[in-house]
């Protein structure tokens, strides 16, 4: 009996499982083909760029490939004294090729990231090496500029020997590998990134809190008002969504600048004197105000969608059972909105931590965030690997926040609407 029940046959005598597979196969292929374009899209626009970014942030083969002989010769050098003649000769030969192929500019840029002052001495070397005579390259190179006689610069070259490096990550947190190979902090006056990271965290945190404090009552109002009013209010909430980000930020600039509308109003009402107008822009205040306004809908919408599902009779039940309005709110209503609070806060925080345009326009020097620094390296210094490293650090930060949230509240508890 048992063997019979194990292998059930269809009326045609084919095993049931096989027959089922056959019947399902077509559907499976169809389903796969349906999602295939999307899968491809995600692969191309998401997985590849991030993979490329990850790779770029640790990839250091450019210099390795430009100076192959030099690094080979440097293998035997311990890095304490000046390198021996073979290193100089190899370097001369490598560099000669680079100059001939007009690739020496890239090397000087790369080396300048490593140590300031490389650019000019490499340029000078490019000019002078044409007249070099054979033999005793050490003397000849050292004669080009006195920095070439400084062992520090040769150590800097040696540091670029490995194909892969995590130095960009160290740089992102204001650390570096010193001459002895130890990881230490950069001098205090050059620690710019740590401040930026902390400021980004602070701004994201406070913007989230402000959005929550303002969004919660709005969402509650939206969820409880009669339809005709709530629709109007909803449009007011969504209107910023439909306006260009740039326009919104620009309008904040008009409002907040020292000769702007708000300051004019303050002066007009006598709150402040004309020569004592407060600065509300090009600092953190401006960043806070503009970002809170722009990110507010991301808080209101998830909260609204959760509050909409909470029956008003629950609050009534709380009150009829003897709870004061506050207790009914705190014990009954508030716990039920937690999924919305979680979703809204997570959304706003993650968006805020990587925010770029608004802080760039209204932030000034003290209101810019880490994303502005990333953009700066993408556009101005062209140190893409450093920008990639910082971008990945930001991404890791976001993932950590997500993980913590998942541990504390549970991600399946989230409700985005």
């Amino acid at each position: 009996m048992s063997s019979e029940t194990q292998k059930i046959l269809t009326t045609d005598g084919i095993p049931l499982e096989e027959s089922l597979k056959k019947a399902e196969k077509k559907n499976k292929i169809k389903a796969f083909l349906l999602v295939a374009p999307l899968l491809l899209f995600i692969l191309i626009t998401y997985v590849f760029p991030i993979g490329d970014m990850l790779f770029r942030s640790v990839d250091d083969r450019m210099v390795t490939n430009m100076l192959p002989k030099t690094f080979k010769a440097m293998e035997k050098w311990d890095g304490k004294e000046m390198p021996p003649e073979e290193v100089f000769e190899a370097f001369y030969l490598d560099y000669k090729i680079l100059v001939k192929e007009k690739r020496h500019g890239k090397l000087s840029t790369q080396m300048n990231y490593e140590k300031n002052g490389f650019k000019s001495i490499l340029k000078k070397l490019a000019r002078k090496q044409k007249k070099f005579k054979e033999g005793n390259y050490k003397e000849q190179i050292m004669a080009v500029h006195k920095r070439w006689a400084n062992v520090e610069y040769w150590r800097a070259i040696k540091r670029r020997a490995p194909e892969y490096t995590y130095s960009k990550y160290l740089k992102g947190i204001d650390m570096y590998k010193n001459e002895d190979g130890k990881i230490v902090q950069v001098p205090e006056d050059r620690r710019v990134h740590k401040i930026l990271w902390l400021r980004t965290l602070e701004v994201a945190l406070f913007v989230t809190i402000f959005c929550f404090l303002m969004g919660y009552p709005i969402a509650h109002l939206l969820a409880t008002l009669p339809m005709k009013y709530s629709n109007l209010l909803m449009i007011c909430v969504l209107l910023p969504f439909w306006t260009s980000l740039l326009v919104r930020t620009a309008s904040w600039m008009i409002l907040l600048q020292q000769q702007g509308v708000i300051n004019d109003f303050f002066v007009l009402t006598g709150l402040v004197s004309d020569d004592n107008r407060p600065e509300m822009m090009y600092n953190k205040t401006g960043t806070y105000v503009a970002m809170t306004q722009i990110l507010l809908p991301f808080m209101v919408l998830p909260l609204y969608s959760v509050m909409k599902t909470i029956s008003p009779s629950l609050m009534r039940a709380g009150k009829s059972l003897g709870g004061t309005p506050f207790i009914a709110f705190w014990k009954v209503y508030f716990p039920l909105t937690i999924p919305g609070i979680g979703a809204g806060c997570l959304l706003v925080f993650i968006l805020a931590i990587g925010y770029y345009i608004t802080p760039a326009l209204v932030g000034g020097a003290s209101g810019t965030l880490i994303s502005n620094q990333i953009a700066f390296h993408m556009k101005s210094t062209l140190d893409w690997s450093f920008a990639s490293a910082m971008g990945l650090m930001l991404l890791t930060g976001v993932l950590v926040v997500y993980w913590i949230y998942n541990k504390l509240v549970g991600i399946d508890n989230i409700k985005l609407g």
């Binding site: 029956s311 009779s313 629950l314 009534r316 009150k319 009829s320 059972l321 003897g322 309005p325």
Partner: protein, 362 residues
């Protein structure tokens, strides 16, 4: 301690939401202590509004509500000490059954032991002992309903309000819950104000029923009186089944009147809302009071033609065309003595004039 007759008192209460339409008009209603009173009416008749005013979620536009002789219009809901069972149960979905029941006790600062004791007692009353740690979402509709009832009773309120609590349950469960609530009421003697639009529910459960229509109480009386002696044509139509004839009073004397129907026939009926000759009236007759092949003593005897026969198991419903009314319904008990009931046959039907109540013409 004698029961107070005016434990809850609505005194000339009006309610309007928009300042144009009165949802409740001049409501005067006394509810005795320990009574089970039902507010029955079609939707929009103002019955739920009355309940909400009593619970404190709506304020009367005019008039006053008294609870145990104290005016309560200015007391917020949480201080009224009135238990309430909501239409959709309104159990707190993020709390266990125990926490739901303990909520009213906690806000009243009961000790842990007293709370446990009371919750235990309330749960056993609705036969749900052992369900303390379940979440409301894990319970069936009937179980949720019982938890809601237990929660409304656990803090020993003076009055319990129930707003169509059985509306979401299926028919069988609804009937068994009706008995259960009725028994709970009988055993603890709490005053219950119950709102429903289901007349069977109202008739089964209540001591007294207030029939609402158009913001007014049409009739307030015990279930049997309400059914047997409706005071106007709305109540007659709303409660149970009803055959009606409209016509004009041609003769009236003490306890009897002659009504000339629109079809020309004259019938004898019981004058309830008519006083003088020439008045328009609607005569109402319960289907079970009309009898086929009447005995001699019945003072109304007429013939009708069978239009439709519907089999209902325990009885058969026969639709007749009689005296100009093609919707005249007869209920024939499904006894062994089957008569020759076929569509197209003529039937002789009779009733007592006492059961034919001449009411207002609407």
């Amino acid at each position: 301690m004698s029961k107070k007759q005016q434990f809850v008192k609505f005194d000339k209460v009006d309610k309007s939401y928009d300042g144009k339409v009165l949802v409740v008009k001049d409501l005067n209603l006394d509810i005795a202590e320990g009574e089970f009173i039902t507010m029955l009416g079609p939707s929009g008749s103002g019955k739920t509004t009355c309940l909400m005013m009593l619970a404190g979620f709506e304020t009367p536009t005019n008039g006053e509500i008294y609870l145990d002789t104290n005016p309560i219009s200015n007391i917020p809901p949480h201080k009224r000490g009135i238990g309430m069972v909501f239409q959709n149960y309104a159990l707190f979905p993020h709390m266990t059954v125990y926490e739901n029941l303990a909520f009213p006790l906690k806000v009243r600062k009961f000790s842990k032991e007293d709370t446990d004791k009371k919750v235990d007692k309330a749960l056993s009353m609705v036969s749900l002992s052992g369900f303390e740690n379940r979440m409301p979402g894990q319970l069936s509709g009937g179980q949720q309903q019982r938890v809601a009832v237990a929660r409304a009773l656990v803090f020993d309120p003076q009055v319990v309000l129930m707003d169509e609590p059985l509306g979401a349950l299926d028919k069988n469960l609804r009937e068994s819950m009706q008995y259960e609530i009725k028994h709970i009421h009988e055993s603890i003697g709490v005053t219950v104000v119950y709102v429903t639009h289901d007349q069977d529910e109202a008739l089964t459960m209540s001591n007294r029923i207030a029939v609402f229509n158009d913001g007014k109480v049409q009739q307030l009386s015990s279930p049997d009186k309400l059914y047997e002696e409706p005071v106007n044509s709305f109540v007659a139509e709303f409660i149970g089944e009803n055959n009606t004839f409209s016509g004009e009073v041609v003769d009236i004397s003490k306890g009897e009147c002659k009504v000339k129907l629109d079809s020309g026939t004259e019938i004898l009926s019981n004058p309830i809302r008519v006083k003088s000759k020439g008045e328009r009236t609607i005569v109402s007759l319960r289907p079970e009071r009309a009898i086929i092949n009447p005995e001699k003593k019945m003072d109304n005897k007429h013939n009708g033609k069978i239009e439709e026969v519907i089999y209902h198991g325990d009885h058969t419903r026969v639709r007749l065309n009689m005296l100009g009314n093609s919707e005249f319904i007869l209920k024939v008990p499904n006894s062994s003595a089957r008569m020759d009931i076929k569509v197209g046959n003529e039937l002789a039907v009779g009733w007592n004039s006492l059961d034919a109540r001449a009411l207002d013409p609407k």
